[in-house]
């Protein structure tokens, strides 16, 4: 009864095509933003920051990126870890070359650099498709990790091969480095995710998004209605890599602070988990990217609480269980709901519309 669309009429095509066509959705979203921007910053502590909110925001960003490429443009990529590494190392190098540059600009620049790298590794996508392309992206993953590992210039010849962030401020408050207060890192990531999230949604609902989906659903037909395949695929690679690069940049500069490339951006550490997020969340759904990220951040915490603290298993055994459960969830989701949590959400909304009188 409460959640209904009766009586809401659209008189222009603009309003019919808005992101939240229903007034209830709009209100809910605005409330969420209100809480996120005005209430959470006052209560956030470093556990919520480091264990939940920051990883959630960063994974959401990466998931949006991969969803653009895989969910909307249909090009499966297993190279997310590699592209995130590019973002992280770009940030590190820019920081050393330009000590005075604003951190926001550094992060965005890192995204742009990753976008160019993405275009480079997207080039084979014209000739090769499907599984062959998935394997090719795996190649880019291995190559990039190897490169950052073997060429000392990238980690400024440090003995450990580690890269470490230096402190940067915005409006006088540190957002990177050890002294950054939780609310600052949180707000920094939140602003980027919200702004770029909207940008992604806008692209998806206009020309470029429709070109991606046309290529995804049937590339031959797309070509015949005049969608240039190479340009469209490369634009998806570029924009997807931009988002993933920013995620990598934040992962390094804001979240970890110091990292070593093989450990942090391994295929098992990043590429597969992000792929999980968009499958469990929903391929080709913006909401799905966020739901998937939330899921992947919260499930391990939940499992650890249950298995280690409650049942008393050893950490190693719990880890094995976790892997098993990830795999099971993935298979079960693909069997029961290939469109992921986002579809479940919309089914729930559909039910809610008719509630409490379903007929």
């Amino acid at each position: 009864m409460i959640y209904k669309e009766t009586g809401q009429f659209k008189s222009t095509y603009e309003s019919d095509h808005s992101i939240f066509p229903l007034i209830q959705d709009k209100i809910a979203f605005n409330l969420l933003m209100l809480v996120a921007f005005l209430i959470v910053p006052f209560f956030i502590d470093s556990y919520w920051e480091k264990a939940i909110l920051i990883p959630f925001l960063i994974y959401s960003m990466a998931a949006i990126g991969l969803n653009i490429l895989t969910g909307y443009c249909g090009q499966v990529s297993l190279g997310t870890g590699g592209f995130m590494a590019v973002g992280a190392f770009a940030t590190y190098k820019i920081m050393t070359f330009f000590p005075d540059l604003n951190i926001m600009i550094i992060v965005l620049l890192s995204g742009v650099i990753t976008a160019f790298v993405g275009i480079l590794f997207g080039l084979p996508s014209l000739r090769i498709k499907g599984f062959y392309l998935a394997v090719a992206t795996l190649a880019s993953q291995f190559f990039i990790i190897w490169l950052f590992n073997k060429v000392p210039w990238f980690y400024n010849y440090s003995d450990t091969g580690q890269i470490t962030v230096s402190e940067r401020t915005m409006f006088g408050v540190a957002v990177t480095g050890a002294n950054a207060p939780p609310y600052a890192t949180y707000l920094f990531c939140l602003i980027l995710v919200v702004v770029l999230g909207f940008a992604a949604k806008n692209m998806i609902r206009s020309k470029i998004g429709r070109s991606w989906m046309a290529i995804r659903d049937m590339d031959i037909a797309a070509e015949i209605i005049g969608v240039p395949p190479l340009k469209t695929k490369l634009s998806a690679f570029a924009i997807s890599s931009f988002y993933i690069g920013i995620a990598g940049s934040l992962y390094f500069a804001v979240y970890l602070g110091a990292l070593e490339v093989t450990e942090s951006f391994d295929i098992m550490a990043i590429s597969f988990p992000v792929l999980f997020m968009i499958i469990i969340g929903g391929l080709g759904s913006m909401l799905g990217s966020f739901l998937g990220a939330a899921f992947i951040v919260l499930l391990p915490i939940f499992l650890k609480n249950v298995m280690v603290d409650l049942i008393g298993l050893s950490a190693v055994t719990a880890k094995h269980f976790e892997i098993t459960i990830w795999g099971l969830l993935m298979v079960v989701f693909l069997i029961l709901e290939p469109h992921g949590l986002a579809r479940l959400w919309s089914i729930a909304k559909e039910k809610l519309r008719k509630w409490p009188f379903p007929y």
């Binding site: 806008n202 609902r205 470029i208 659903d217 037909a221």
Partner: protein
């Protein structure tokens, strides 16, 4: 720009001239030395038994196949082959024998893809989505809504096309082609697998598009009664060769055509 060139050609004059086109896949000859002309504003039918090379002919016209030899004169210019993107930009739209819709997208979005070539805003503007982009979206939405009205697709505007029945999918595909506001429309068996009422509807849509929007139509169809009813001129292919050309009454009397369809009496 060849779109302008096509538009400048007067009605009744040749817009596509197929000159001695041959097409082979390895050793298999799909088309052998085929020539014909399509005049602007007419309904032109390509008929022939299964495997005669009709679909291959359409694929050559919109550049999906590259002919082995011969030339295509398009809007007054001789060229060795067409390129799909160029064909689309020059105002050639087509539908497919086995429906080629974007199955994950709604009817509305499928039709909107027909407008992609006409949308000019760059991706940064699209990401910001204000002013000009919004206006452009609304403008094209309006165009698409007209096609939706014309083809009676209002009820399925938001339905993913993958879940639509066959006849409706065919209609959506025609809609996508019409949304491109094409000068030339290539239809590959638009009425295959339809019942009589659906065929009548489809014929009406095709004729209206031809009448009102002055779209040149090149059509492949197996149902002879439909072909004889709606086409101005017909070319007949058999085993990749042209065996007849003319208006419906001439074709009905053509000895070679009758032999090809009914078999030669021994």
């Amino acid at each position: 720009m060849s779109l302008a060139k096509i538009q400048s050609i007067p009605y009744g004059k040749e817009v596509i001239k197929i000159k001695n086109i041959s097409l082979a896949f390895g050793g298999v000859k799909a088309l052998t030395d085929v020539s014909f002309e399509v005049k602007k504003g007419e309904v032109f039918a390509i008929i022939g038994p299964n495997g005669a090379g009709k679909s291959s002919m359409l694929n050559v016209i919109n550049g999906f196949y590259k002919p082995t030899s011969g030339q295509i004169n398009f809007a007054g210019e001789d060229r060795k082959e067409m390129i799909p993107e160029f064909a689309a930009k020059s105002g050639i739209a087509r539908t497919f024998q086995n429906i080629a819709l974007f199955k994950g997208m709604s009817t509305l979005d499928n039709l909107m893809t027909g407008r992609l070539l006409k949308q000019k805003q760059n991706f940064l503007m699209q990401a910001l989505y204000f002013g000009p982009v919004q206006k452009e979206e609304a403008y094209h939405r309006d165009k698409v809504e007209r096609v939706i009205d014309f083809l009676d697709l209002q009820a399925i505007r938001r339905t993913p096309v993958g879940s639509l029945p066959y006849g409706l999918q065919k209609r959506v595909e025609l809609g996508r082609a019409l949304a491109m506001e094409p000068e030339i429309l290539l239809l590959d068996e638009p009425m295959a697998g339809m019942n009589v009422e659906e065929k009548q509807d489809m014929s009406r849509f095709v004729l209206t598009a031809n009448d009102e929007f002055k779209t040149t139509i090149v059509l492949i169809e197996h149902d002879m009664s439909v072909v004889m009813d709606i086409s101005d001129r017909i070319v007949v292919l058999d085993y990749g060769k042209k065996i007849g050309e003319g208006n419906p009454s001439e074709i009905l009397k053509n000895k070679a055509v009758i032999d090809a369809y009914l078999g030669v009496a021994d």
